[in-house]
């Protein structure tokens, strides 16, 4: 099996699905001839032609709106919002339209589409190339939200998302496109090549939406994470010598409540970890679910480890980023309380 980084795995998912299903079309800013600013769609236009892979005007509302029209026709559009920070001009089409068309028409119409978007920080992208807006979409009935943490899952989840008959938000943590960044930013970057989850089959397979994975088994504390933060959790647990169980949620809506409950009831302690801002972040939902369902198993309060409630900074990126320096003390607190 070839080793692929996230970009290659995502490109392979596109390739597999475009080959299998002629209704799959791909478009977005710079995705056509050039293959996308992160190169995810490289080579697709050459292979599948300009009418199935093409560049779009810089108008996210127009991209989302036309994709909905294509889905209504019967295509399966997979479109890229170049940075998740740019998604907001398209928000109305996603929030008021894509998410509700099945509902408002009593299933007369459906819009199977995938919105791919590189998200998250750690690349010195400043406040408009670093944000994690997943909570806005988790709050939205009718849209599934998926965030992979490794090449194997990225490909399998993207294929499952393209096959899904509901609109799917697919956020790609851009900091781990090329390697499993673990938050120890002063250390050299490790590429995916040697990582077991970089072994990606070339053909078709799926990773089901709505199912979490246990990234590390442990007994003393559960860390709920997704995307880049899975690697931060693994590395921090290692560095702190904590026997943590790391749950990689993979899909945040619908979230895998069984996996969360099973783990927290086993460990009795829970740390919720995400890069997005704290207030009303998805961690608040996770903390509420855990206390509603696992209260009598909890030995300590649920701890949230998140980005601060500020815009994403440029020079102070590592002060903002919820890396090992913030997670380590939180783990110790969860264990000591």
């Amino acid at each position: 099996m070839p080793a692929m980084n996230m970009i290659e795995a995502l490109g392979s998912a596109h390739d597999v699905m475009m080959e299998r299903d002629p209704s799959v079309v791909v478009f977005g800013e710079d995705v056509g001839y050039f293959g996308g600013v992160f190169r995810v769609t490289a080579g697709l236009q050459k292979k599948y032609g300009k009418t199935r892979v093409f560049d779009a005007p810089i108008a996210e509302g127009g991209i989302a709106g036309t994709a909905i029209g294509m889905a209504l026709y019967g295509l399966r559009p997979v479109f890229e919002i170049q940075f998740a920070d740019y998604i907001f001009p398209g928000f109305d089409q996603i929030f008021s339209e894509a998410s509700r068309i099945r509902y408002r028409s009593a299933a007369e119409w459906a819009v199977p589409l995938v919105i791919r978007s590189p998200y998250g920080g750690g690349i010195f992208g400043g406040q408009t190339h670093s944000q994690s807006p997943e909570a806005f979409f988790a709050h939205m009935p009718g849209v599934k939200t998926v965030i992979p943490s490794n090449p194997y899952d990225a490909k399998g989840l993207l294929i499952a998302a393209i096959e899904d008959n509901d609109p799917v938000l697919f956020f790609e943590p851009k900091r781990i496109y090329n390697g499993p960044f673990d938050g120890f930013y002063e250390r050299p970057v490790t590429p995916w090549a040697k990582h077991p989850l970089a072994e990606v089959p070339e053909g078709y397979y799926t990773v089901p939406l709505g199912k979490a994975a246990v990234a590390r088994e442990g007994n003393d504390v559960t860390i709920l994470a997704y995307g880049t933060m899975v690697h931060v959790a693994l590395a921090t647990a290692e560095a702190e010598g904590v026997d943590a169980e790391v749950i990689d949620l993979r899909t945040i809506v619908p979230v895998d409540i069984e996996a969360i409950e099973a783990s927290v009831k086993k460990t009795g302690r829970c740390v919720v970890l995400h890069e997005a801002t704290r207030t009303a972040g998805f961690g608040a939902e996770l903390a509420a679910l855990v206390q509603e369902r696992c209260f009598y198993h909890l030995e300590a309060p649920v701890v949230r480890v998140t980005g601060f409630d500020t815009p994403y900074p440029h020079s102070l990126e590592w002060t903002y980023f919820p890396g090992p320096a913030r997670l380590g003390p939180a783990l110790r607190k969860a264990l000591e309380d």
């Binding site: 009418t51 127009g62 709106g65 029209g69 294509m70 109305d92 009593a106 509901d166």
Partner: protein
Amino acid sequence: MKSKKERPNRPALALHVPEPGARPGDEVDFSHIAIPPAGSVVRPDIAARPDEMRDLAYTLVRVLDEEGKAVGPWDPRLDPDTLRRMLRDMMLVRVYDDRMYRAQRQGKTSFYMKSTGEEAVAVAAAHALDREDMCFPTYRQQGLLVARDYPLTEMMCQVYSNKGDKLKGRQLPIMYSDRARGFFSISGNLGTQYPQAVGWAMASAIKGDSRIAAGWIGDGATAEGDFHNACTFAAVYRAPVILNIVNNQWAISTFSGIAGEELTTFAARAIGYGIPGLRVDGNDALAVYAATSWAADRARSNLGPTIIELFTYRVEGHSTSDDPSAYRPQGAGAKWPLGDPIQRLKGHLVALGEWDEERDRQLLDQLGEEVRTAQKESEKLGTLGNGHYDDVSSLFEDVFEELPWHLREQRDQALAEAEAKR
């Protein structure tokens, strides 16, 4: 750079806020509206370049003259049966509207919107399009459904949100959807359907289909970003789509000047995009038909989109929740210089010797009977106040294709609450 002291004579800047010509109590005055004679506007070849037909965005394509004759190059030369069918559909829309308006006043539903004076905009377009073409309407094109023979009982069930409402009581009355008749589910967020129409048309072109799409938007909503997104995408990809702007002069209480019509026309928006823009007498069913056919021919010939401004007047209030006497002179609609679309088409048929008062009266009676019968049928299935759609678990259906765990739990909670109430 000069300091402020060195240039004391500059005028203070002043913000311009457009204001309509007449407010309540004022005399209605439509004399500023330029109305070229019917038949006076050229009809370009569909393959002509958009930049060769810019004048069409500033005039009015008109076919029916003052005597009810169809004149000039835009005359679609329709046979009498088609004309009578269009007249019948427009009359039916008006009878239906009056009936449903009264039903709302009787408390049988929450809300209604009439299309009085705008019947030609939808009905004539529906007749000019192919039955398989896809419509992305806004909320005042019930004429499309009537022209495509959607059963009145079904429409009323949607208005009443009753047990026969196939939308399960989820939508505001008049926000119809009917896939079988190529009528997309109406949104309440204005303008969203416009880029969707373009996307549908792009998909039809991607698949090498022959069907085209048509979208409708109001004059007010052309100010939305979605309007401009739709125009950009339609122009860039030469999408086979007709983009209709229904300029009925009013967006609730706001006149079209606030949407940017004071110094230009809505059809002229097309020019900057390199799209042909036609400004059409929207109360002239033949002009609407002819413009739609012309645009459809362009779309089907891979010549791309057309923007059609349908110049008309919203005779009634915005909706049952609106009182236009609070912001415009009363009776303004009756003085609209382009007349009433039904009377004008009727006058044409009479002038042709294909219609008369007796037949008109008979048809009106027959349509009244049809609407009353449909109303009785639909009211057997309930009204919003009495016997509306009430299946509690349906609240949770169709959020997703399959019910996820959290909605399953919430459904059980709602069912338990309903049980406790009994």
